[in-house]
Amino acid sequence: MERKVLLEVKGCSKSFPGVKAFNKVDFDLYEGEIHCIVGENGAGKSTFIKMLSGALRPDEGTIIIGGQQYSYLTPALAHQLGITTIYQEISLAPELTVAENIFMGMEPVNRFGFIDFPKLDRESKKLLENLKIDLGVEALVGSLNIPQKQSIQIAKAMAREAKIFILDEPTASYSSNEIGNLLALVKEVAAKGVGVIYISHHLEEVFSIHDRITILRDGNKVASHQKNGVTLEKIISEMVGRDLSMFYTRELVDINYTKAVEFKDISGGDIKDVSFKIHQGEIVGLAGMVGSGRTDLVRLIFGADQKSSGTVFVEGHEIQVTNPSLAIKAGLSLLTEDRQKTGVILEHNVKWNISIVHMANTSGHFINERKEREDVNHYVKAIDIKTPTIYQEVRHLSGGNQQKVVLAKWLYADANVIIFDEPTRGIDIGSKEEIYKLMVQLARQGKYILMVSSDMPELIAMCDRVIVMRQGRIVGEIGRGQLSEENVLTYSIGGIL
């Protein structure tokens, strides 16, 4: 049977400063097809969704929908063409009922122009039964859980006769039971002729529902496979496989295995019973997909969020960490992921930014300005921060130099355990290497280093050991000898080595 093509993307590209996020990708979607997209963090999946939902304009290429060619879509146009992106929470009104949400903006009216509620409920009920969604139409949406809300969004899109559904990581924070229900619903919807673009890190989900799998890597389409035409191992090898020239080569440092910082049974929020050690001079990587809980974990360790349980030992001594101030006193530090929002104070100068932790966590009420100036100048020189003077506002510095300012403030505060969260995100290659060199230097000085990173080459090049997280737990640990993109990825997506 000849199936109708719903969507065709031809040679679409999108560049951001310094990155080609999407490179001449072809993609198509048939009526009733479930087309899955897999790829590592930063492979170009989000860029693709944003182009289809009209949030981003491609630099080149065409999008063909219903025989019409478009060089870009707008959100309104995407909506009009029947493209719906299903999100986890937003776009539903919590104070309205299921039925009111499903028909929002297109409610049936009676002859007086008022909403015909009996008809509204009847129609909604029919729709839900049709999709095998087991929910009362009069329930308030605010009282539903996330999976239920998501199914209501799907019903809402069906009521609007949307033709193309995009689901981006729909099952994050789902239980296995709920995942089953969602996958069944997605199949049900596809059986009614809707084309589904399904994006997930969870390869087992992808395997259970796909008609086709497309693999993206660094903005390129690597391959497409029909159902039953491919194995899990093959897909993993296609998701990874970077050129070796992308890897930085570091000097190795002797690790002192007699001294360690130990985290025991750390729980809190989505993090469950995480235990691990960092030895003196060791660089430990924390890998995992976006949403696997890496940032949550380091915030718990640092006392920025409250742990429900767990203990921290620094060189054998148990320490209480219930707020950042206590963590800092125990020698911990955290270089956050979003350095502009939580790392530096953009409007303040280099001096203030570098001295803040030292200033706030040492005794005495007055600031010794002369000493402060000397110390700050010392660190600016020591790690080569490029700034005309220490009175320059940090917002005028480059990303790499801002990161160095953040590092300097922790060094000035005598941090012993240095936690980097995405240390080189948004930093140019030259500065990246400088940061790597500094890390190695710190390891040599006997610091304990933990590095959260989504950048595979970086993890593999820099780490003595990589811990892999998934759904708030540690699922694997890989020593430097066994470190490869494939191994890290296998653990990240729930596989076993």
Partner: protein, 329 residues
Amino acid sequence: MSLNIELTKRTAKWINKSNRSVYYLLGIMVIAGIVMSFLDPNFLTVRNIFNVLNQQSTLGIVTMGVTMALIAGCIDLTVGNLLATVAGIAAIALSRWGLSDGWAILLACSAGLLTGVFNGILVVKTKIDTFIATLGLLTIYQGLALIVSKGNNIYLQGKFGWFGTYRVAGIIPLPVIYFMVITIIAYIVTRYTKFGRKLYAIGGNPEAAFLAGINLDLHKISAYAISGLLAGFTSLIVISRIGQSQPAMGVSYPLEAIAASVIGGVSLSGGRGTIPGVFLGVILLGLIRNSLNILRVPSFYQYVMLGSIIIIAVTLSNLGAARKAGNPN
């Protein structure tokens, strides 16, 4: 389009500079001073200068407290009605309970301090936007001021006059001395103490400050406490000068204090501004009012002009803040 962007950039740069530097304010005042002294020889006399300082001393002291809170990113609108409430208490203490001057001063300062602490705790614990929270509190103090005084003016019957009117060496009014001393203390606190630096950090980026181990709540409460304390202290000057407390006095202080801060370079979103700048902001407001008086501009028109100046200053500050919120590159 690009011309437009270029112009915006330039304006932003200019504003940024003028905000950070007290020299611009000084320049404006010197020019205004020269012009005014030509227009009226009385303008540049020692007597007139002390007059201006004296007139501005109450607003100036209140402004120092409000500035501390603003630096930490907190707006304090309560100072006016808080001042009236404390004024009522102090006036009752002096006239009806027969408290000595010293005890009355201590009572007023403590009442201001405690109220400030209460404001701070409320703002911190409810996590309501500080503008809204202190707007609510302002209304509560408006009520309290009326309750305390039963809606009446309370007369001091000749007592306590020295506190706000005595002139040292026959020329320097006491309130001017209070104002100077408090300004110098505020300068030292903001410039040379860790407490002050932490306020800047909290206002500049609360999340970064928290992760640097700074106790946000404690410092915000302290900033409100200082603001309350200074408003309480100021109430003493006011009742001493006019010989009575009035339940509706001081209502213009919060906005004038914020205006003076902003003119002096304090950012409404926090983290920026210096005490010398704020001091000049207070004096500039006073000079403008004084000049308009000397030029015999009718008082109704004076309000319009003063308001316009405040709006211009705040607008400039907002442009700076908008730039702060935007992409730093």
